[in-house]
Symmetry: C2
């Protein structure tokens, strides 16, 4: 049934018919429909959903929506939801809920699971451990393909993925992986130890999620095993979670590069004060830094008084410098994030930026020179001063824009900070100094 029709049914309070339709739909669409209702109807419809679907929908809700549900349902209902959740979603839920709700949730989970949840809560934020789940298929080396398939048939429906199976020894150490593709295309009498892949790509519980995402991209796997320092298998991470992480990492970079503290919350659901707070610190820092540029203007005040026409070119020079630097820093920051550029490429970056910036700078300067002479009828010495400043500024801006992200990477600072806004502030000062020095020399001031 189409989404609009169900929304109509809900509008008309035909809840039973709406529920019948929802029960046959996929969880992403159901979540979308319920999230768009008013809270009372969301809760009502949610309680009517089949258990499994309810849990899937619940795990896709925002923390605010989850809180609404958790605080409204009975213990019995909550137990049904929590039992159906995958372990990683359980841990996420507990991380997001306020203390009294955490208590309510833990009261409906078994003791063993409570211990495991506590252990998982200790993994650092943004680490592989905080992303992984425990519902994987584990097999033993001595099993035959038939035994393995039987085991999957029995337990497979409760696993996050069954497409990659993990072969472990008695101490839970990871010995190999075998894909379901290999299992279903192999002779049923073969032994797992003979068909498994022993050369396994793995990540450590404490690896950063950015590195985990790199491994997924490089190898193209659907899931990766997570091991602890003793090489014991502690969980798996699946590709769908990594897609979210990749978006989140890119969003963080976008925000840092525009001089903001990164935030995971969506624009429309972030409060006004939180948003002001996300933006203010860097604006303050950059505002105060820009006074340094102002000092340079102050120092050369006499030149501006003598040739006030020079001031008209200052915005253009500052903007061109800033834009040139932002271009380069963006390319280098993104190259570092994707692994295309490493800190060993130092000289390649500098050399490339010197060549490119020379070409670009000269092209801009010549255009500008011709325009000033012919269209604006500016005197030659002034046009020359402006044009020389353009070449020098563009070159300086592009080299600074290329080098600063690399320095940040070496110092283990996020290179995304060395983006447009900061580069612009630095380049502004450079541009003005070059401008006034050139003016002093060429105009005899």
């Amino acid at each position: 049934m189409e989404i609009e029709k169900i929304e109509e049914l809900i509008e008309e309070k035909e809840y039973v018919r709406a529920n019948e339709a929802l029960s046959t739909m996929n969880e992403a669409d159901v979540t979308e429909i319920l999230a768009a209702c008013d809270p009372y109807k969301t809760l009502l419809l949610f309680r009517m959903l089949p258990k499994r679907l309810a849990a899937e929908v619940f795990s896709r809700f925002t923390p605010e929506q989850q809180l609404d549900i958790v605080s409204s349902v009975t213990s019995e209902e909550l137990k049904d939801i929590v039992n159906e959740l995958y372990f990683d979603d359980k841990v996420d839920l507990i991380e997001e809920m306020p203390a009294n709700m955490v208590k309510k949730i833990l009261s409906v989970t078994g003791e063993k699971e409570r211990e495991l949840i506590n252990q998982f809560l200790n993994y650092p934020e943004d680490s592989a451990g905080s992303l992984m789940t425990i519902e994987y298929v584990d097999l033993k080396k001595h099993m035959t393909v038939r035994q393995a398939l039987d085991r999957i048939k029995k337990t497979g429906m409760n696993k996050e993925t069954i497409y990659t199976c993990y072969v472990t020894d008695a101490e839970r150490r990871l010995e190999g992986i075998v894909s379901l593709r290999t299992l279903v295309t192999s002779d049923e009498d073969l032994v797992i130890g003979d068909i498994m892949e022993p050369d396994i790509v793995r990540v450590n519980t404490h690896d950063d999620q950015e590195n985990v995402a790199h491994s997924f991209k490089k190898y193209g796997y659907l899931a990766l095993p997570v091991i602890d320092n003793e090489n014991r298998l502690t969980g798996i991470i699946t590709v769908d979670d990594i897609i979210d992480i990749m978006e989140q990492e890119a969003t963080e970079d976008f925000q840092r590069m525009a001089a903001m503290s990164p935030s995971e919350e969506a624009y429309l659901s972030t409060g006004v004060f939180a948003m002001a707070w996300q933006r203010l610190p860097w604006l303050l820092i950059l505002m105060v830094s820009a006074t340094f540029t102002g000092r340079i203007m102050g120092r050369y005040e006499n030149i501006l008084t003598q040739a006030v026409v020079l001031s008209a070119f200052i915005p253009m020079l500052m903007d061109t410098g800033g834009n040139s630097g932002s271009q380069t820093s963006t390319l280098v920051i993104r190259g570092l994030a994707l692994g295309d550029i490493t800190t060993r490429d130092w000289w390649k970056v500098i050399w490339k930026e010197m060549s490119v910036s020379f070409l670009v700078g000269v092209a801009l300067a010549v255009t500008n020179f011709v325009r000033l002479l012919l269209l604006e009828k500016i005197e030659t010495p002034i046009a020359l001063t402006v044009s020389i400043t353009i070449v020098v500024t563009v070159m300086a801006a592009k080299i600074v824009g290329g080098v600063l992200p690399l320095i940040a990477k070496l110092l283990k600072i996020d290179p995304a900070i060395m983006a447009g806004p900061l580069i612009t502030t630095i380049v502004d000062a450079l541009a003005l100094m070059v401008y006034f020095v050139a003016a002093t020399a060429l105009l005899g001031l």
Copy 2:
């Protein structure tokens, strides 16, 4: 074996031992090792690889490396590689190769396949059709689970994925999907028509890749079917290809937002002239636009001559305005790209930016006012002029930064163009106008 050890073997020309080691490794690592060798050794080692691995490595090479291989191997060797390639990789290869190599490649493919390749080459760039492959498992409604599993066992190793199977009728119309998870956990006598999922998420051959990526993110599937306008199944797209697309789309946005033409090529492998050409047009446009700001300076020359101290604050005002606008435009552009913000959220964005910018603007202005009075010993009227300009500029910048990406979206222009550099140019002019008007009023000039 570790990568360093194999590199040592290659260094010592122990090619046979190196090949033995490479043959047991996974294709991503082999690609990395071969790509790092000099071209002669790459070719030599590549020709020694087992067929299947060679094809996998080949499909991961850059077009330049592929060209090296294609032009060096014999027709017989080329046939082996091309036969082993997945269909989407074949189409990509032919798209990238020069005409004479395309001829060489087509001469080793069968006639039927040549026709299909031609058809696929006609799909628009960045469309679902240009991403899909044809190696999927198709099942019929009347089959039993056992028959389906038998079919997969026979043909599964040559499919891009077997984890989602597609149920089609005699006219190749898509009737449902069934996951391998469902197949292996179901009773072997059940009929596919009874266990398949008839409510299928699908994309059309002409859908844009960005929308395809959205569907993958929303539903979390491992593969999506691609249908033509007659609802016939023409191919599938798998999640690993979508991960590349997502990175590519984010990279394009980063580049556009830093005033560059987007390019798919990696930083280090882009030539100097190509790179200058990628950067020059926008720098030129912005440079010429900035002269408008210069005109405003020129118009108020007499004010600057009378109170030359005012010029010292111009860089700070311009930068603060530009940075404020960039913050907002970045959030809105990213929100639009992720689907968090739609063009219907017009008033919400304006309202949020008005509130946030008021808070941020006042905080910046107060800090600045106090600093100017106490630390810099500036006269009160001038400090007041600067501070009022900050509030007005920050508010104007944030509203412009919020609205322009939305207008772009409505006009079907990429919102990423309405980012920092363009916003800065507009806001610079605004900031100066406000500044001079405030100065005229407050300083009695």
